[in-house]
């Protein structure tokens, strides 16, 4: 059995309550932390190699070290529990069943950052999770783990939950801060970064739920031990939320470095493709990440095993790789239509654009409309080129990365599945009735010639 850190107590009934959590070493890490110097906690997190689990994979310890410390200005810690990236549902699992590990992680992080207030910004649809979190927070408050003078340490800290109300863009950290201030979720221009001017224009760190929870095992075992799990710059464990045409969808904690082969096909994890079908494609890190055709899922372009690490999934760059992102792992079998799926995602991004900047506001709608016509047999061949051109016009030209999130899935689908798009245009009637199927997307291709390096 692989090692578990966040979900190690997953089998214990009542672990969501403070009593049971404390019976299993709960809040021991906090007690340890409160005896340490805050710089030392930051340096443990730096040593652990922990990288942000919200999507971008930015080193957490480094992010913490950037926080500005002007005299007399409060600092804030904000937990990003917006979790709206299609395919991602791990944070919900953690908050619903293990609320105290998040709370403990947040108190430690607040202490390390010198923040006296933490907010958990949770998507509005998770109101039932919000209520569970508030119960857990109240338990902690009553036990003196939150509030004034925590456990006699002299450190004051409180944590509150604040809901969104239906907007994917509020997962973007600056849009989240706007929402938390009671405004429209329009991302802010950067710089200034939240570490300098964040919530209420005060220095703020925004971290994902899983990132903050991981601070607990890091403190328990020490940063160096944590860094021993995994490979290279991908340390520790990662929660993967797996869905789609697989036998065992759900949330899994994996050690970084697990092979894709084992993750998808072993019974310990996803248990293979459902109904004995074949794998056609996989989006490994949430819907904004490039989709991979079957032959690039378990192997890289150089026929090496693909592993669940930031680097291995990215192997080959955009040409033949993808990104680990949020760990929203989506599997598509041979019966799925890539054009339809791409249209579905484009519709999503069009719906979720905040509308502030013109390339995203106008471009996402344009993408959706073209894809709709291709899917429904009303397109011409030049529409495929327009599609490519429009996504290129968005990519990199927007205020926030939602522009890229909308452009990449289209670019990747065109890169790997262009023949399926062409087939749709050439056979509009047939495409309404049947599916392009697996085609040659699972066939291994010869290794590319090694490129001269320099």
């Amino acid at each position: 059995m692989a090692r578990k850190l966040l979900l190690k107590n997953d089998h214990i009934a009542g672990i969501n309550t403070l009593d049971v959590y404390q019976q299993h070493q709960g809040y021991e890490a906090l007690k340890k932390a409160l005896t340490m110097k805050s710089e030392d906690i930051v340096s443990e997190v730096q040593k652990s190699g922990l990288r942000g689990r919200g999507g971008a994979g930015f080193p957490t310890g480094m992010k913490w070290s950037f926080i500005a410390k002007p005299e007399g200005v409060p600092r804030y810690l904000v937990c990003n529990a917006d979790e709206s990236e299609p395919g991602t549902f791990k944070d919900r699992y953690l908050m619903e069943y293990h609320p105290h590990i998040l709370i403990e992680g947040m108190i430690i992080s607040c202490f390390a950052l010198g923040a006296n207030t933490g907010y958990i910004f949770i998507r509005g649809e998770y109101m039932f999770v919000l209520r569970k979190l508030e119960i857990a927070l109240e338990e902690a408050r009553k036990a003196g783990l939150l509030g004034k003078n925590i456990l006699g340490s002299g450190f004051d800290c409180d944590i509150f939950v604040s809901p969104g109300a239906g907007a994917y863009i509020c997962g973007e950290e600056t849009a989240l801060l706007e929402a938390l201030e009671g405004k429209r979720g329009n991302p802010r221009m950067k710089p200034p970064f939240p570490a300098v001017k964040g919530l209420y224009q005060c220095p703020t760190v925004v971290n994902n739920v899983e990132t903050l929870a991981a601070v607990v095992p890091i403190l328990e075992m020490g940063g160096e031990e944590y860094a021993k799990i995994g490979i290279g710059k991908s340390t520790g464990t990662k929660l993967m939320s797996a869905s789609g045409n697989i036998n065992k969808p759900g949330v899994y904690e994996v050690e970084m470095g697990l092979t894709m082969q084992e993750f998808i096909y072993s019974d310990e994890y996803l248990g293979g493709i459902k109904n004995g079908k074949q794998l056609k494609a996989c989006i490994p890190g949430g819907s904004s990440m490039p989709i991979l055709p079957a032959y690039l899922v378990t192997k890289t372009i150089n026929h090496e095993d693909r592993l669940l690490t930031y680097e291995s999934i990215n192997d080959g760059g955009f040409a033949s790789g993808s990104m680990l992102g949020s760990g929203g792992f989506m599997i598509f079998d041979e019966d799925q239509c890539i054009v339809r799926n791409t249209w579905n995602l484009s519709r999503f991004y069009h719906h979720e654009s905040c509308g502030q900047c013109s390339p995203c506001r106008e471009g996402t709608g344009w993408l959706e409309k073209i894809l709709y016509r291709i899917e429904n047999g009303q397109a011409q061949m030049d529409d495929i080129d327009t599609l490519f051109k429009v996504q290129k016009g968005i990519d990199g030209n927007t205020i926030c990365p939602l522009g890229e999130a909308a452009a990449w899935p289209v670019a990747a689908a065109l890169r790997h599945f262009r023949d399926e798009f062409v087939w749709h245009v050439e056979n509009p009637d047939l495409a309404q009735k049947q599916n392009y199927g697996l085609a040659k997307y699972a066939e291994m291709r010869p290794k590319p010639e090694p490129q001269p390096t320099n």
């Binding site: 299609p86 395919g87 919900r92 649809e125 239906g166 938390l180 799925q336």
Partner: protein
Amino acid sequence: MEKIKVNSSPPFSFNEENLLEAKRILAMYPEDRSKSALLRLLHIAQKQNNGFCSVGVMDYIADFLKIKPIEVYEVATFYTMYHLKPLGKHVFEFCQTATCATVGVEKIIDYTCNKLGIGIGETTHDGLFSIKTVECLGACGYAPMMQLGEDYVEHLTESKIDELIQNLRNQENG
């Protein structure tokens, strides 16, 4: 955009229980930052107002937080969970995104529409049910799914829909 006449919306105010809740929520934010409570207060007010975020509701909240009404309108129209038109008592909000679509939510939506005799975005004549489509709700591993009130209903099947509708109707009659 259709303009709403000012006086067409009945005034709204929090009931006693919600007033207490609102005060608890205000205490979470720094005193001069009470606007932060806006999103949560709108949720609470909308719920009290039978799931409808009317102009009366928005104007009340603006007054409550001492902000301009337009600041509330801007927010209420940005977020999809605020319903600017009245809906049925029970709203079936089907996730139509990625995985849910992959595992066949469309069939379930069609089935439900047929069964209730309404289309997406419509409400049954008795005002009991509305059907809406929404985007990924973070339950992809348990797809197809929908949100019903504050709860999630996951692993949807046609018989589960039958059962659910029957139960809700029974609740209403007895």
